[in-house]
């Protein structure tokens, strides 16, 4: 299961790379990628893990860029 989310206020390319590395290390994440240009976060994981993972990912992101937010539709 692969899902893509918008990221708001993603300001720095190096930070995006750091966030990506941090999210990849989360337990349950099969793969994760952040595109700085399109401001998109793509996570591949088991369907049931998503709610939990999104919270964890948001935490990772806040640590690196405090204003950056995952937009869940």
């Amino acid at each position: 299961m692969k899902k893509t989310y918008r990221l708001d206020n993603l300001d720095c390319a190096n930070c995006a790379a750091k966030m990506e590395a941090a999210i990849q290390k989360l337990e349950g994440v099969q793969s994760a990628a952040i595109s700085f240009m399109t401001q998109r976060l793509t996570i591949e994981a088991e369907e049931a893990d998503f709610p939990k993972l999104l919270k964890a990912a948001q935490k990772c992101i806040r640590k690196i860029e405090p204003d950056c937010e995952i937009i869940v539709k």
Binding site: E20, F36, R40
Partner: protein, 621 residues
């Protein structure tokens, strides 16, 4: 400029004015050191406080080596060694660079989203006899929508009433107006050119063609090219290395040579400022993204930067025949007549075959192009795989293969040319034959030539068709190798053989129509599907999808891939080169802090601007 950017600009302008004033005052009046420090500290805080706050926040989160922190350390160190104006300069220049970087990023993001702006957000829906404008997400399958001339079609749909011409340029890159009538299926993203049309929606917004294309291009960033992965890894070790070098530079030489610390700390500052890898981290993926954007503008969907990278190194291109190089439709290509006119011969053949749904019969009927007068045709008898006989205008007519005619004791002529021969005769007289063959796409030769110009050394064709048909096309298109009568398993074997022959670091590309190609695609580095518009299977199977069915687009794709790689490489060499030069100059004490800030943010801005060139890669031939 956004509000945030204007705020930064204001800080820079006020900061610069105060800085100039401070310089003049301290130059004219001799003040005690603490007074000078105080003046510059106040000036420093105007543009610098936000950097300090961010640095503090990030340290609290355990992010030590971020840009804000490095700039803070650099400026504090400058204060510590008494270089007050330098401290302000670091922050001021840094903010200017950041502003430029933000503007450049904002603009290229805008350009990217313009490239992907395929269909409108809203649709005009007919509900209870009223026209309502609603977001496309809220339109249900089965509802009727209205599209006026000059508007883009918002959802995949079928025409209920009204006629118009549609332009698929936004999807395929080719401006080719097509007539659309009631009953026709239309794709989201097409421009409605001439008439008002009413449509019935066939797919929800999330599954529309335009949405799928956008999703594909947006998620393409998740498949990273090796160059990108290298840069990300490099960035992770680069910053710590440069910071350690800076510390060593500040401490070791003074300890070993007993020179003053202040001189070496100043040199170490330049290191700290250059230690952010942003220019690389931003510009390389941006180059790839620009390339993918440029390709999608041309109706070529690339599923990841890794495929763009692989395509740029293509050495062997293997192509399927039917539907890829040829149109996959049979046409009458030649007529040879005896004793009657070509029109009469075609009419007889079409009439005799009028009851058959064999592809050959269909192509005869298409070539005839008129209604068949069924009154004139009687007693149609079909011999499967051989031919038909019928009574036309009271005369017995035979239409079919040479063997079929020989069975009727008629002696057919020897055929000359490629294709399937259909002989026509009455019970007493031979009327000649028609040749029916698949035709080569008009731009196939152009496409193959473009591949060669881009460094492809071998273009081969695989087909299940006969030896003679394959050879004919091979000769016409000047293909290097042709393999006929291939079963699916043979195709896989041929691909494996080509793979073994590849030079080091070069790639194998397969081009097909995306149907039943999975095992062959698996053998290739880049699998290309042609004619993907409206074909979900092709889009799902391939790494690169050419939305219309033009083989010349392959050349375009290859050109964009090469250009993109070139820009990515330029950026790596340029950004690293400048950084290394300034690091060396800094270590020797020759680089001013201004140069260091340029090597950081200035280089980023230039690299971003260079990367945006990739978005226009398709313009240059």
């Amino acid at each position: 400029m956004t509000r945030q950017q204007r705020k930064i600009l204001l800080k820079i302008v006020i900061g610069a004015a105060l800085f100039a004033a401070a310089l003049i005052i301290t130059h004219r009046i001799s003040l005690p050191w603490w007074a000078e420090l105080l003046i510059f500290l106040i000036v420093y805080l105007v543009p610098g406080h936000s950097v300090l706050i961010k640095a503090g926040k990030n340290i609290a989160h355990g992010q030590v080596l971020d840009e804000n922190f490095l700039m803070t350390i650099a400026s504090i160190a400058a204060f510590a060694i008494g270089e007050y104006p330098e401290a302000v300069e670091v922050i001021l220049f840094y903010q200017v660079g950041e502003l430029f970087e933000k503007i450049a990023v904002g603009r290229s993001r805008q350009a990217v989203s313009d490239l992907l702006d395929l269909c409108p957000d809203e649709a005009t829906v007919l509900r209870n006899g009223n026209q309502e404008t609603v977001f496309i997400d809220a339109v249900e399958v089965g509802e009727h929508i209205l599209v006026k001339p000059g508007e883009k079609i918002p959802l995949d749909a079928q025409i209920v009433s009204g006629c118009s011409t549609l332009d698929t340029a936004a999807l395929t890159g080719e401006s080719m107006p097509q007539n659309a009538q009631p009953g026709d299926v239309v794709y989201s993203g097409c421009m409605n050119l001439s008439g008002v049309i009413e449509l019935i929606v066939t797919k929800p917004a999330s599954e529309s063609t335009a949405a799928k294309i956008m999703e594909l291009v947006e998620s393409s960033a998740s498949r990273k090219a090796k160059t990108e992965q290298f840069i990300t890894k490099f960035a992770r070790i680069y910053t710590p290395c440069v910071v350690i070098a800076a510390i060593l530079l500040a401490v070791l030489p003074p300890l070993l040579t007993r020179q003053p610390f202040s001189e070496w700390i100043y040199r170490a500052l330049t290191f700290l400022i250059i230690s952010c890898p942003c220019a690389l981290v931003i510009s390389v993926p941006l180059s790839f993204f620009g390339g993918i954007g440029a390709a999608s503008k041309q109706g070529i969907l690339v599923k990841g930067s890794n495929y763009l990278e692989a395509l740029s190194r293509a050495e062997t291109v293997v192509m399927d025949k039917t539907g890829t190089l040829t149109q996959g439709k049979f046409h009458v290509t030649k007529q040879h007549t005896c004793s009657i006119s070509e029109a009469e011969q075609l009419e007889l053949a079409a009439m005799a075959e009028s009851a058959s749904n064999h592809p050959i019969a269909q192509s005869l009927l298409e070539a005839y192009g008129k209604e068949i007068d069924t009154e004139r045709v009687r007693h149609i008898q079909e011999t499967a795989g051989q031919g038909v006989s019928a009574l036309i205008d009271g005369r017995k007519i035979y239409v079919g293969s040479a063997a079929f005619l020989q069975d009727q004791n008629i002696d057919p002529a020897v055929t000359d040319g490629v294709g399937t021969a259909v002989h026509v005769a009455s019970d007493s007289e031979y009327f000649g034959y028609l040749l029916i063959a698949d035709t080569i796409k008009p731009d196939a030769a152009e496409g193959i030539q473009a591949l060669r110009q881009s460094g492809v050394t071998c273009v081969a064709m695989l087909t299940g068709d006969s030896e003679s048909a394959a050879k004919e096309i091979g000769n016409l298109l000047k293909l290097d190798e042709v393999h006929a009568k291939c079963l699916p398993a043979d195709k896989v074997e041929h691909m494996q053989a080509y793979r073994k022959k590849l030079s080091n670091n070069r790639t194998l590309v397969f081009v097909g129509d995306g149907m039943n190609d999975a095992p062959v695609l698996a053998q290739s580095d880049v699998g290309v599907a042609m004619g993907g518009l409206g074909s979900d299977a092709a889009i799902a199977a391939a790494d690169l999808v050419i939305l219309d069915d033009k083989p010349s687009k392959l050349g375009t794709a290859l050109r964009i891939a090469k250009k993109t790689m070139m820009i990515a490489r330029e950026n790596i060499v340029f950004a690293l080169g400048i950084k290394v030069i300034v690091l060396i100059l800094g270590a020797c004490g020759l680089a001013h802090i201004g140069a260091a800030v340029f090597a950081d943010v200035g280089v980023s801005v230039i690299a971003i601007l260079n990367a945006t060139r990739a978005m226009h890669a398709h313009h240059e031939k």
